[in-house]
Symmetry: C2
Amino acid sequence: MASTTKYPVVDIHTHVYPPSYIDLLKSRSTIPYIITSDGSLRLVILPAEDTESTSRGRPVGPEYYDITQKIAFMDKHSVDISVISLANPWLDWLPTEAAAEAARSLNDEVERECEKYPGRLFAFATLPLSGGGAAIVEEIERLQSLKYTRGVILGTTGLGKGLDDEALLPIFKALQDAKLPVFLHPHYGLPGSVWGERANDYGHVLPLALGFPLETTIAVTRMILSGVFEKAPELQMILAHSGGTLPFLAGRIESCIEHDAHLKAEGKLGEGRKTVWEILRKNIYLDAVVYSEVGLKAAVQASGEDRVMFGTDHPFFPPLEEEGGKWASVETNYGAIKGALGSGSDEAKGALGGNAVRVLNLTI
Amino acid sequence: MASTTKYPVVDIHTHVYPPSYIDLLKSRSTIPYIITSDGSLRLVILPAEDTESTSRGRPVGPEYYDITQKIAFMDKHSVDISVISLANPWLDWLPTEAAAEAARSLNDEVERECEKYPGRLFAFATLPLSGGGAAIVEEIERLQSLKYTRGVILGTTGLGKGLDDEALLPIFKALQDAKLPVFLHPHYGLPGSVWGERANDYGHVLPLALGFPLETTIAVTRMILSGVFEKAPELQMILAHSGGTLPFLAGRIESCIEHDAHLKAEGKLGEGRKTVWEILRKNIYLDAVVYSEVGLKAAVQASGEDRVMFGTDHPFFPPLEEEGGKWASVETNYGAIKGALGSGSDEAKGALGGNAVRVLNLTI
């Protein structure tokens, strides 16, 4: 049952592990990989999770790989359209020679999932990052022929040196020219030392609540500082988790740039530099996965009410107790939009779906 | 010449290196220390700065140690009252046996600086952190007898293991009982690996613009998770740089806590837990050193219009070109308050000074 609202609700932050990706991870014996424990699958993607214990990795149920469960989730939460993306760690880890074919196969498989529910599913594709520049650009060109693909998902390491790596510029330009937005998503977090000796006392809170958004903030700031947005001026980035913390820190970043003696001496502060605010309003879109009115308002004020897009992060953050009702994590993000922008307002409708339909051209 | 406005403007984030602290740093040969280069003093406080180059460390002029320059800065920028604090790295690095006496001497010296301008200067004191719990608690008790001291400044390492260290609890309780707010300020940043190979291309921007606020966010979140605010329920924290990124991330932190299976299994999600929002509105104050309306609004919405306090971060972030006019960094923070809260509004007056006068009892 689709939403009965009069405007589409679009979820742009919603993940899948297609069956072939599950098989790929099952065939491995080092992270990232999937183990079978007590008859159920567990995904181990971070070194800290790879321990001989009952909490090794995290359970992977059919909500990760069965597309009918995605549709059921959408129906339950009044989501009309989902733009699905592979969850981390994508294909960052594949051997060079295997990357191109794996990406093609995976992107085609996701495309076929979208075909099963015409108009309800679109996709962000996965790049063969370990395959080298030519393979990546070739896949970007091929993606333009896929009916349901509307962009690519990208982690923060790029080719291994981060997103301020000059070797990435041809890739960013190819994405710009293909008009394929980049959905920037964290995975690697921060070095474990920053969480302190007691980190394990706090479950996954520190790396999930802080590591992810801080990683995104650092990655996009390095892009800004390296001049990506001057060199690929039409590049479109959609930042996960409302930009990590970029809306809140934009003023400090801009002030630190303007006060930096080295940048001034290097002639980097003159005409032609796009400010952080200009980049936020010209190149950056923000999802609305921020779990508060405070954060959502900051996102809207920083980037513009026409640049923020609802998301759920499904299948992550399910309720701790199976009650069959709506997920609190989703309701919190719905509530943030309605609280910050006004229930039923044009701004809320834009954030809930209108912006995504316009920016990602979600019609078939 | 003091401000001609009808309400006091109070700067709660403004640093000094008193003359004896300069002498202490001059006497050392490893970081933190002060070198003399071409006849001028340079302060080296971070490993990355300690290189044999013309940019070793940073220049330390009289604006750091001459209190008349603080007053001149205040007059130029219409600041009526400053609550001065030692800049990082404080006394974190002193040998155990030297800590207590150094802290007493330093805090008394700052007190004498305040006495020179009665009513215009108050102070956050420095704790002898390396001196051990008894020495620290003893100094906290002594501070209550100092006429101009209104709290303490604290970095993020505490006794060496971070602020979620159980050994800090008696210290937090002593500060609570003494009604001395803690001004939490970053210094150590994040591990250099997160900035990537090109970090030096960007001057000091990444560690200053991101490392500092992210460090603060991590430190206070670790305090929240360890239950400090339940165990010392009246503890008052003033967070530098508007909480780092806490106002923006509070929703995500709260959601991650509520969805954490480990915390639930440990019985940590039941009654008695203060939510992040409750802590923001009960235990936390935020300075207004955030350089944008977007950030300032988020700070006010998260913590409350009566809990945000103007600051300048003087003597850091001077204009790159000596023009004799007002500092852009200060004007940006003034503008953020006026833009976000309305010029001349009661809320703006509170943020500019009224809140600080009330919370810190800035009368003599």
